[in-house]
């Protein structure tokens, strides 16, 4: 047979802009590869069957459940985790992404377990939409509707989405907006 059938593979990918490599059993979930093989524990694992959204990361710019992707499937892809949302401030430090700022400002987290999944989903969704238009309730519900939070009751998360959308609209207006997270593929997060 010409096709190779493997039990283990070496996967090369870009994570948060850095080329990375890991040799993994083929059954390794992307969520586990990020946490255990690459040491990026910001991505959280809740349900491990696609329901909670805690493990959401961006693959080539689009939000996906990292527990529903095999590590071998992201060979050659560009992955952004919550660790990759903050930007260099040009002075050796980092600035939070507007969505992270908004979560802090609006008290949109309590235990923080669900937070990484919300942050990457909302960040990709807000960057994919036209920042100038005021965000609608429908858009907000769609951005948060795929993620579960057992603590907050969602009110402050929705508040944070509106807050982040507003700050991103202002920075888009002043043109010096935050650089887009790998926008190679248009994220679908804000569509519906």
């Amino acid at each position: 047979m010409t096709v190779s059938v493997d039990t283990e593979r070496t996967v090369r990918l870009t994570v948060n802009g850095v080329p990375r490599e890991a040799t993994v059993p083929v059954r390794r979930l992307l969520s586990d590869a990020l946490r255990h093989d690459l040491g990026l524990t910001g991505t959280h694992v809740g349900c491990e069957h696609g329901v909670c959204g805690a493990c959401t990361v961006l693959v080539d710019g689009a939000p996906v459940r990292s527990c529903l992707v095999l590590a071998v499937q992201v060979e050659g892809a560009s992955v952004t985790t919550v660790e990759g949302l903050a930007r260099d401030d040009g002075r050796g430090g980092q600035v939070l992404h507007p969505v992270q700022e908004a979560f802090r400002e609006c008290h949109a987290l309590q235990c923080g377990f669900c937070t990484p999944g919300f942050l990457v989903t909302i960040a990709a969704g807000l960057e994919a939409r036209d920042a100038a238009g005021e965000i609608t309730d429908e858009e907000v519900y769609d951005l948060v509707g795929g993620n579960l939070c057992r603590c907050t009751g969602y009110a402050n998360i929705k508040k944070a989405v509106r807050h982040a959308a507003a700050t991103m609209a202002i920075s888009a207006e002043t043109a010096a907006g935050p650089p887009a997270i790998s926008a190679e593929t248009a994220a679908e997060g804000g569509e519906r």
């Binding site: 083929v26 992707v69 994220a187």
Partner: protein
Amino acid sequence: MKPAPFRYADPRSVPEALEVLAAEEGAKVLAGGQSLLPLLSMRLAAPATLVDLNRVPGLDTVEVTGDGVRVGALVRHAGLLTHGGAARVQPLLARATANVAHPAIRNRGTTVGSIAHADPAGEMTSVLALTGGSVTVASPSGERVVGWRDLFVGPLETSLPAASVVTSAFFPALPPRSGTAFAEVARRRGDYAVCGAGVVVTLDEDRRVAAVRASYVSVGLTPEVHDLTDAVAGSPVEKADWAAAGALARTLVEPDGDLHASADYRRLLVGVLTERTLTSAADEAVERTPA
């Protein structure tokens, strides 16, 4: 939990995929993985080998002609949802896809995968049925077209042999003087439907109701198409008694009760959603019927 160990291949063509599927005992196709990987992690399935289609070129296209919409095996729900050409020829596609899961799952899950998965709670199986669609299946013995009636055998069960790849699904165009609509009730936004309804209304040249068909989600073990024409046949569209069509639908379906809803509640929803969707499908049918 984690999936049980398996072997993995990512072939670069459909014939290569078929070669591995035929050679490996207990091999299974992996498309978007949004149904298969949960089953693996819950240890409800433990295939010996996964044959990943994602690196096969040419399967990710939506072809739109006057006859209908052909959706390739690697077209994601998100891609079909935002495909303007597909929506013009068969508006039911985007309307139903908007109800499939959450955006992050739609970014990865495929339309064809959800048809091959044959979940009675899936939207696209009943859309395939309602539009009178079919799938194209490649197997070691060649390629053939399988109509929806011959495809769905039971819940999570199709008539397809193990060594086969569905290369595309075909949804015929919305006929002239017709309108369509889709609606569902789910416990939470993006969840599987407690009950969903898709309908098609067709008028005659005098804008009288000529045909009414409906198909439901999470009702029955396999998708079915119900003819509701008798309740409203010949009625001028603006006077049509859509509630009567809803009442007829309630007598035709055989829903089951489960943790999420009783059979009676599902039957009630069938009536409500039928009336609601028919009202908006009729508006579209009127728009598409020259005065």
